[in-house]
Symmetry: C2
DNA sequence: CGCCGAGTTGAACTGAATCAAGAAACGTGG
DNA sequence: CCACGTTTCTTGATTCAGTTCAACTCGGCG
């Protein structure tokens, strides 16, 4: 089937009973987005938790004429506006595909049903929460204790090939500096 | 009973079936810490999700001679080293009571049992995750888009009375600056 | 009473922002 | 497939917020 990557990813954490997995798969929705396409718009409510089969997603706020990219999700990981998804309230930021992107998504309603019906549902929810939380935690600490240059180096080592596809200006705002500053950092370290 | 605050807090989100609540309460552990006491040490595994009945907790890393306070949890909210709790791996930071503190804690094992036995268990876990994640998300964005002065103002409006009990040096590292810089900001805005 | 940690203030320095202008890369239509 | 316009990246000059180092004040506590 086409869910190989997702299954492999989940099985890193624990075995999946065939029955639960079948049920889970039956609720999965494949969603494709082309480069630059909006995946979620400010004002809407996030209705999915998604696994990124391929592609890269950027989350950003529009702030006085500027965009701040506060999160970048890469393939082989979960992606969702989790705060909105959980609280069922509108997001105040946008999400867009940085490259052509394919997602496996499960809707809020279906996930609720998964929770009540199967053990694997709870597992998925928990794993998504865990991954997203841990990622945020690390990043927040990095913002507090690392310099911009260190943060850039972290990106280089964490996602060596992937960041090639990401325009410098997005990386810059992701690590909390201006494109000019990142350009200078690049020159300095090469 | 003594769980009034916790019950009220949880009921903000949804009603609690009496039976589930009884079971939940039976697994609750009250833990008290005096000012400055360590609640969790680097190298240990977090074994609890806790509700802060009263008090303030500070999470901090020791980084080349310095302490960076990266999280502050106030009363009437959840507190846990959630990344460690979830992954069962040691923390690389410390947690300490900023004031005398009383917690209602549930252990990892008991929470797992709650998950399998009651609906309210899943709810607790989910709510804790939600609250913690949303808090991190907000804060991360604030670190990216606000100035140090704005971040301090946010603290003032969010926790007007509580931050009085927190020494300036901890607040400073929480908003990502030195105590000297915060001291100057204070003078400027008063 | 004297000490010690916490907060304040000053002066010099530094990393990054801002403003500005030119170069390179990109994609869209002819 | 090239030409043009737009966006992205680079580089320079100036400014500014915050750091660092250092000295001094204040308040509580042994």
């Amino acid at each position: 089937m086409e869910h190989t990557k997702l299954k492999q990813y989940l099985e890193l954490f624990s075995p999946l009973p065939a029955e639960d997995w079948e049920f889970f798969v039956s609720r999965l929705l494949q969603r494709s987005f082309s480069k630059k396409e909006l995946i979620l718009q400010a004002g809407k409510v996030e209705n999915y938790v998604s696994f990124i089969e391929s592609g890269i997603i950027r989350y950003f706020v529009r702030e006085r004429e500027k965009e701040i990219t506060f999160e970048i999700a890469f393939e082989n990981s979960f992606a969702t506006a989790y705060d909105s998804f959980l609280t069922r309230t509108p997001v105040w930021y946008d999400a867009a595909a940085l490259t052509d992107t394919v997602l496996w998504s499960i809707s809020y309603e279906d996930l609720q049903e998964m929770y009540s019906r199967t053990a694997v549902g709870n597992r998925i929810g928990r794993l998504a929460a865990e991954e997203l939380y841990i990622k945020k935690n690390k990043r927040q600490l990095s913002l507090l204790k690392d310099t911009a240059e260190q943060r850039y180096m972290n990106l280089l080592t964490d996602y060596p090939h992937l960041i090639q596809f990401i325009p410098l200006k997005y990386l810059a705002s992701y690590i909390g500096i201006t494109p000019q500053a990142l350009s200078r950092i690049r020159r300095r370290i090469s």
